[in-house]
């Protein structure tokens, strides 16, 4: 019943590349690469040469953050000019068994980048300890780059992430960061990998959207500014314009004839909820501490998780955003969440640099109130629970746990 044993990844040594979908034997790819900091994409990875005389301890240290190149045997993944798209995976990707590959689906402006950055920031802050999980970056260099490029400017300087170029890799799925999560109680260690799935490329119906099926779990990012019609717009009643999310539609289309794949864990995260922080039911949920339903991680509060999903579903339904609810219908195990990646809206453009090289970039929006993420790890916790990372009882997250007597209270 779970994706852990599901049909998209062969067990043990064979790994399916999350980008091109080809399977290959992990150990047969022996050449390791190191990633170098260069703006030229083609030169970003170079073979890792370790002299034969190097001691075992030094060798292991150098291999720690190495990468493997996917053999991409059928070579279907090509750029517009017909050239093959080389792609690489962290060497620790499958070192501890089958990784859990989580794809974030949404458009660049959906709040996806901020959600991911806030999640990584919260993980870096040690918040997953609440779930009894130990955390270590799969690749220290990649993680450090991600922190310095996205998380630090956001958290330390209150700078909004600029969407240009984000989530627009040629393949449509861009590796962002990965962690080794270990649950000492269960004796489990597993790589959890975050991929940014570009809504823009999905919307173009790129032939490369096949990678969607290789994801072990999906987080659909709902941009309420798009999904929810502002009543002030004036269009109400019978002439309400039809709204839809082409990224969601393309993903769901991919699952039309993939019934087994519909058991993948799915979380639907309504971002930017700070906009509704004084309105019910959003206010009630944002007041709660993140991960409050997982105080006993192996036995999460299933009824409360169900309640949040019900309220979030009803909130979107109330605001005529049915198209954004489709993932809940399609996937057998799904949760919905109210989240705010930053706690407030970025509104204040920074003044020009005026020659000050240390000043922030021109036009970068800023969070004048500071950044205070709300409940950003709850969608991830739901995915981890449904995937078995928190134990067997927690796999029930996303199921039917209606608490008697409820129904729209608050």
């Amino acid at each position: 019943m779970t994706t852990d044993d599901g049909g998209f990844r062969s067990p043990r040594r064979t790994v399916r590349c999350p980008i091109c979908l080809n399977e290959f034997v992990w150990e047969e790819v022996r050449q390791l690469y190191e990633r170098v900091d260069t703006p030229v994409a083609a030169e970003r990875y170079r073979p890792l040469e370790i002299p034969a005389t190097t001691s075992a301890i030094k060798r292991r240290d150098r291999e720690l953050d190495a990468w493997k190149r996917c053999p991409d045997n059928d070579g279907e993944l090509t750029a517009n000019d017909g050239s093959k798209i080389e792609h690489y995976l962290p060497a620790a990707y499958a070192k501890y068994g089958r990784p859990l590959v989580i794809g974030f689906v949404g458009f660049a402006e959906s709040g996806k980048s901020h959600l991911l950055a806030s999640m990584v920031g919260e993980i870096e802050y040690g918040r997953l300890e609440t779930l009894g999980l130990g955390v270590d970056p799969v690749d220290a260099g990649v993680h450090e780059n991600y922190l310095s490029e996205f998380v630090d400017p956001l958290f330390n300087d209150g700078e909004a992430i600029q969407s240009d170029g984000i989530g627009e890799s040629a393949s449509g799925a861009e590796f962002k960061d990965a962690f080794l999560l270990s649950n000492p109680e269960l004796g489990v260690t597993r790589a959890v990998t975050f991929f940014d799935i570009s809504g823009e490329i999905l919307a173009e119906k790129s032939p490369y959207t096949q990678f969607i099926l290789a994801m072990d779990a999906l987080i659909f990012v709902v941009d309420p500014y798009v999904a929810i019609k502002d009543p002030a717009d004036g269009s109400t009643g019978w002439n309400r314009p039809l709204r839809r999310d082409r990224a969601f539609a393309t993903v769901l289309h991919r699952f039309r004839d993939q019934e087994g794949a519909r058991e993948k864990p799915v979380a639907i995260a309504i971002t930017k909820c700070d906009r509704w922080r004084f309105e019910q039911p959003v206010s009630s949920w944002l007041r709660r501490d993140g991960l409050s339903s997982y105080r006993s991680a192996r036995q999460p509060d299933l009824a409360t998780i169900w309640e949040e999903s019900a309220d979030a579903f009803a909130f979107l339904h109330q605001n005529h955003a049915q198209a954004w609810l489709r993932p809940y219908s399609v996937f057998s195990r799904a949760t919905l969440h109210f989240v705010s990646a930053t706690g407030s809206e970025a509104v204040e453009p920074l003044s020009p640099r005026n020659g000050d090289v240390n000043a922030s970039a021109v036009g970068v929006k800023r969070y004048s109130r500071g950044v205070r993420p709300k409940r950003v790890l709850d969608p991830l916790a739901a995915i981890l629970a449904m995937s078995g990372m928190l134990g067997d009882e927690a796999r029930a997250v996303g199921g039917d746990f209606e608490r008697p007597g409820q129904g729209g209270a608050r």
Partner: protein, 400 residues
């Protein structure tokens, strides 16, 4: 034309005087004593509610981007100037209000050179505003631009959320004078602010300045306010002689920036000196019994004068006088469960008719039919998925 209670014209803020013909203090032994309390001791909250069937008194856990300035004219303009203030109403709609700006209220006098004591509270600036059209007064609490931090914004957001919760739970028509009332806000302004109806003066200013009869009124009104908060499932967490105001003949509890809903996780008490022992360091769910302790200390200060420095609890209520050893009996029990029910205090003060029972306010329910339809739809989908997995997609028409 009649106004709701909260709109009643403000009474004089001057020093209160004893009302002529006031009845004597209800101090006779046994008068209003709770039935079934052995030896006259009040039962604690965790003990049996007694023959009158009282419950647990609710201490169980329960559950636009406006970027520009809100003023058409400079908010720094001189006092008395008429200006228009843009704000968000408690219905979530942006409105403009013609107002006359009052002077900024400065913090209470401090010795020259004295350092401002460390505080966990938002460093608001306050002033009174008057709407010349309705002749209503408001208090505006502003977070100055240089104090707009994530922590301070969390506090102002919380005060707005609690204010909206109180309005929604209690209802506008019967909103009590014992609680300050949120009128509007703009949390996203460059200088976030809230508008309140607030009355009276800080209770600390009346310390040892009331008649015995007023002391009883003060206590009865404060306990009534606590019963309202408990029924509304709000724990104030910062009751002090500054946040409890006196507007003869009633108190008004103000400043909900640190309040939590009953049962919500709570951090360290913002004013440890006035906080119950269990609340000082945080880490326990918000419990109305903690407010009871703080209210007791406020009463002690009003009746007996300022607490000695460093004192966090009463030493001898009999020495304080004013009959507090009787009226506050049990309020300083070290555990929340040991503190009596609010109703018992009010009974001793012969004010039980003003008590608001814990079930007075039904849980607010979202009445929007589309929201309720969404909840039903979700429940149906959830049930259908649990029966048959994989599921049925009603949008694509796929059956599996």
């Amino acid at each position: 034309m009649t106004h709701p209670d909260w709109m009643a014209p403000e009474a004089s803020d001057g020093p209160p005087e004893a009302s002529p013909g006031a009845e004597a203090s209800p101090g006779s032994p046994g008068a209003g004593a709770p039935s079934g309390s052995p030896g006259g001791r009040r039962p604690g909250r965790a003990e049996s509610a007694g023959a009158d069937g009282r419950g647990t008194n609710g201490s169980s856990p329960g559950g636009s981007g406006a970027t520009g300035g809100p003023y058409k004219e400079s908010p720094q303009g001189r006092a008395d100037a008429l200006t228009e203030l843009s704000y968000v109403t408690t219905y979530g709609e942006r409105e403009e209000l013609r107002i006359r700006l009052g002077e900024w209220e400065e913090p209470s006098q401090r010795r020259p050179g004295a350092v401002r004591p460390p505080s966990r509270s938002a460093p608001y600036r306050r002033r009174r505003l008057t709407n010349p059209d309705s002749n209503l007064d408001f208090v505006q609490k502003i977070l100055p631009r240089d104090q707009v931090t994530a922590d301070n914004c969390d506090l102002i957001d919380n005060e707005i959320q609690i204010g909206l919760h109180l309005l929604r739970t209690i209802g506008e028509a019967r909103y009590p004078a014992e609680l300050s009332r949120l009128v509007g806000y703009d949390a996203d302004a460059e200088e976030p602010f809230i508008l309140l109806h607030e009355r009276g003066e800080p209770a600390g200013r009346f310390s040892r300045k009331m008649s015995a009869m007023k002391y009883e009124s003060f206590q009865a009104s404060l306990f009534r306010a606590l019963s309202i908060l408990e029924a509304a499932k709000v724990v104030h967490r910062n009751l002090t002689p500054g946040t409890v105001r006196w507007n003869d003949p009633r108190v008004q509890i103000t400043d909900f920036q640190h309040a939590r809903l009953t049962g919500e996780p709570a951090g360290p008490a913002p004013s440890p000196r006035w906080a119950a022992p269990e609340a000082r360091h945080g880490g326990v769910p918000a419990d109305p019994a903690a407010d009871l302790w703080s209210a007791g200390l406020v009463i002690v200060q009003v009746v007996g004068g300022p607490l000695p420095p460093g004192m966090t609890g009463p030493s001898d209520l009999r020495a304080v006088g004013g009959g507090l050893d009787r009226t506050l009996q049990g309020i300083f029990e070290p555990t929340p469960a040991g503190r009596p029910l609010i109703e018992l205090f009010m009974r001793d003060l012969r004010a039980e008719q003003d008590f608001v029972p814990v079930d007075a306010y039904p849980e607010p329910v979202t009445a929007d039919p589309r929201f309720l339809e969404g909840r039903r739809r979700f429940a149906e989908l959830s049930r259908s998925k649990s029966r048959t997995a994989p599921t049925f997609d009603p949008y694509s028409g796929d059956h599996s």
